[in-house]
Symmetry: C2
Subunit: 266 residues, 2 copies
DNA sequence: CTGATAAGTGTATTCAATACACAGTTCTAG
DNA sequence: CTAGAACTGTGTATTGAATACACTTATCAG
């Protein structure tokens, strides 16, 4: 009944961690020269510069000119540090509400902002766990996305569901992009060559009989970059095949909301 | 010009690895007592029983009664072993073509089969890298999904795009499910309690002003399980809120294909 | 002023991946 | 039929990471 109340689950603990609700205010002892914020920042810098694999407690502490163990005064474990990094990485502001109330445009904008952020910090999408958002930054992005979705006419539960689906698609897409880009950099090839190599590999094992549709895909060179498709899009935002998927999802929402409005709805 | 032809990218290498196109046939030397297949199987068993974290080279070799280093005769690295495990984990057969040609039903079926598989082997969705499918099993699943998508009227490129989107959503959803379930098991709470804890944590930091939509979500108890919603669905397949998202995606495809049929398309 | 307490250090432990040299086995060439 | 080449599994050592624990020293509360 003292400290043994109920072992908080990870996600609940993370919320407290991310809002600094843990760690009681200090009274005695030397003033800390390090701080949680500084540690997180240093870890971010390492991740930005050399990827998430480069982030070790030793590396981060070295970066700061302290010993490895000093970090443990400010974060309980490396896992906690990662959780903190993930929220901190989402620092930028998501797009605000649109004047015209166009939820489709708003959501596309939101998706593109997320993509931009993920592309700028591609290590974020490689961290496996990343539960539901719990920190100030993560929640801010969630709020912005949910706002648009609810604006479409979905109820909140439906909106949450669609937000998860969209986020998953964005994450995964950037993860694949990044993997390709890494493969290219590592092997010293261009992206096109990497894709061609992969296709060529598949062609060796994909038979018309067992994998007719994949064979068709290889035949139509879907994996190789389509110069036409990219050139057709306007030049501003980085527009990709992914936009096709996003638009289909928006179509799906639109047709659902419309049908419900007609039939039974709120 | 001898062995230094072009450093194959990961994905291209993986295809060869997964189809056993590496490792030339052996001529001399003692007959291997171990084999790649046996190693993979043992690794799968460990992962199934104790999760992916439990899979170490030492653990797998111990399982087989061999030394750690013996494994390296059969796989080049742990990473290769993981790639092999991932494909091997997808062994079950995806649903075959439907007699009635109903692509919507076919895709829902496909999604549910994938979900079943992922839920049965939830460690699969925790492995971060898992590039595009390259092995026999992964390609079989891909083929089945693509087949239905192309059946809807999408062209192959569009189908690939939508398959990626759907897969990402399924993966991510199971990942979250699993995380919740783990949190519950670890803390000895029920799933409901874990969700309530998380909501309670959020309520402490989410203000009406800064996060109006999330506040609404908390107010409507979206995160707590809705007994009504689940009871409404038929009892057969495990049906979740996720099905809502899947259906919207199918709606989106349907309306797109229909519109294109009317307007310009092939 | 003085002792409890906290910050950062140093050292040691544990665990994982994997490089490398070796011993024993089996196939092939002469 | 036999010598050695080539290959299997073993033993040992190295490296890198996370983190426990004991220690020194700086503060501040009483």
């Amino acid at each position: 009944m003292t400290t043994e109340d109920a072992p908080k689950s990870r996600m609940a603990r993370d919320v407290e961690l991310l809002w600094g609700l843990d760690s009681p205010p200090r009274r005695r002892g030397p003033k800390p020269r390090l701080s949680r914020e500084v540690v997180i920042r240093a870890a971010l810098d390492v991740a930005d510069a050399e990827g998430i694999e480069a982030v070790s407690m030793q590396r981060v502490s070295k970066e700061l000119g302290y010993t490895t163990m000093s970090l443990y005064r400010h974060v309980d474990s490396k896992e906690d540090l990662l959780v903190l990094m993930l929220d901190a990485a989402m620092e930028g502001a998501p797009p605000g509400p649109r004047a015209d109330g166009d939820w489709r445009a708003g959501l596309e904008e939101w998706c593109h902002s997320v993509l931009e952020l993920y592309r700028h910090r591609s290590w974020v999408v490689r961290v496996a766990f990343s539960g539901p958002p719990g920190g100030p930054n993560g929640l801010r992005w969630m709020e912005a996305g949910l706002r648009e979705l609810v604006g479409s006419g979905l109820d909140v539960g439906e909106a949450v569901q669609m937000l998860m689906l969209l986020s998953a698609a964005l994450r995964e897409n950037v993860r694949l992009e990044t993997e390709m880009a890494d493969a290219a950099r590592t092997t010293g090839n261009t992206l096109t060559e990497v894709e061609r190599d992969y296709s060529r590999g598949l062609r060796r094992v994909v038979t018309e009989e067992e994998f007719p549709t994949i064979a068709l895909m290889l035949h139509e060179q879907v994996l190789e970059p389509q110069p036409t498709a990219q050139a057709t899009e306007r030049a501003g935002e980085p527009t990709h095949e992914l936009d096709f998927g996003i638009r289909r999802v928006l179509d799906g929402i639109e047709s659902y909301v419309r049908a419900r409005g007609t039939t039974g709805g709120a």
